[in-house]
Symmetry: C2
Subunit: 197 residues, 2 copies
């Protein structure tokens, strides 16, 4: 190997580990995935994993945050093109549900996340990410609908919970495409209703 800087080594190793962890956690779930397996899949040993991540939960947390960042970026990207706040909310629903079509995303974000990290931790992570985007969107929409300055955090949470459930429901549908349309309609209805006074 060519000599590299420490930062580069760390970057490379954690990158391998995170990629492998996202793969295995996403496919087999947190409980059924061992650190050894992740390390092996990442081309390193358990020692390396424990050098960079204090615990198995910490590794999972990093993967979880990565997924959250992905959703947030997607949400910001797709909704930015919608000038109308309500249209942006609907577009956000669609983006989120489309992400839920990935089994790994569902497993990590919707199933294991809360159980492994605790709800409080998950909430803290999401508050600055997807939930923030949703709440911001609802605030703008509420202002447009003639109810400015209202506190939308609770509404955003409820709507988010509904979206997560829709995502899981979508997963096991016989015809995902048809289900996506039906659930999307319901979700848009719901979010729209929540965003108005």
């Amino acid at each position: 190997m060519s000599p590299r800087t420490q930062a580069a080594r760390t970057e490379a190793t954690t990158g391998q580990l995170l990629a492998a962890a996202r793969e295995l956690f996403g496919r087999d779930g947190f409980a059924a995935t061992s650190i050894d397996a992740v390390a092996a899949a990442g081309g390193v040993t358990k020692g390396a994993a424990y050098h960079h991540f204090a615990t198995k939960g910490a590794l999972f947390r990093a993967v979880f945050v990565g997924e959250q960042d992905r959703v947030t970026a997607e949400l910001l990207r797709t909704t930015a093109q919608e000038p109308d706040p309500f249209a942006a909310l609907r577009r956000g629903c669609r983006t989120f549900l489309e992400l839920c079509l990935e089994p790994a995303f569902r497993q990590i974000v919707l199933l294991d996340g809360p159980a492994v990290l605790g709800w409080q931790e998950v909430r803290a992570i999401q508050s600055e990410r997807a939930l923030r985007v949703l709440a911001d969107g609802m605030r703008v929409a509420a202002a447009l609908a003639g109810e400015p300055g209202v506190d939308v955090t609770a509404r955003a949470h409820l709507a988010f919970g509904a979206l997560c459930e829709a995502g899981m429901l979508l997963a096991r549908a016989d015809d995902p495409d048809a289900a996506l349309h039906a659930l999307l309609a319901e979700a848009e209805r719901l979010v729209g209703a929540m965003a108005r006074p």
Copy 2:
């Protein structure tokens, strides 16, 4: 001990185990609870536990089903007194959120359930219980609102997801009573909106 019938012995032992399991799973979570601990708390040994429950997951499943039955019974009891379908739906929201005030209920039903049993299994269990009550209520309400025969399963799921999220949100509120009122208002709004065309 006085000589007893086999059925009575089984009944007693599984009862002890389920009570202890509900206590420990509810307090420490599934992962942090060992079968040994449950058995000890129930006054028996691991052997007894594994005689009646094939696996740790099976024991958890039994506890989970017990909680689901509890919710369902409570929902049926409290909503039965409401003559108006919409009032019954609102009452159901209140009942559910009040149950969510119990930490053990949240831990078992909302946090660990999906991760341990898988979403599909959880859905199957709930479909004949709480979700059924909610869907039935929404069907009646939809019929009253002039949209009879509509398929409300998707809506019921979304509303249920929102309620679960509200339950978790309620848990960490500084003032649970005030939060209960605020969230209840939002939840009733949401369920009401979902139940109408």
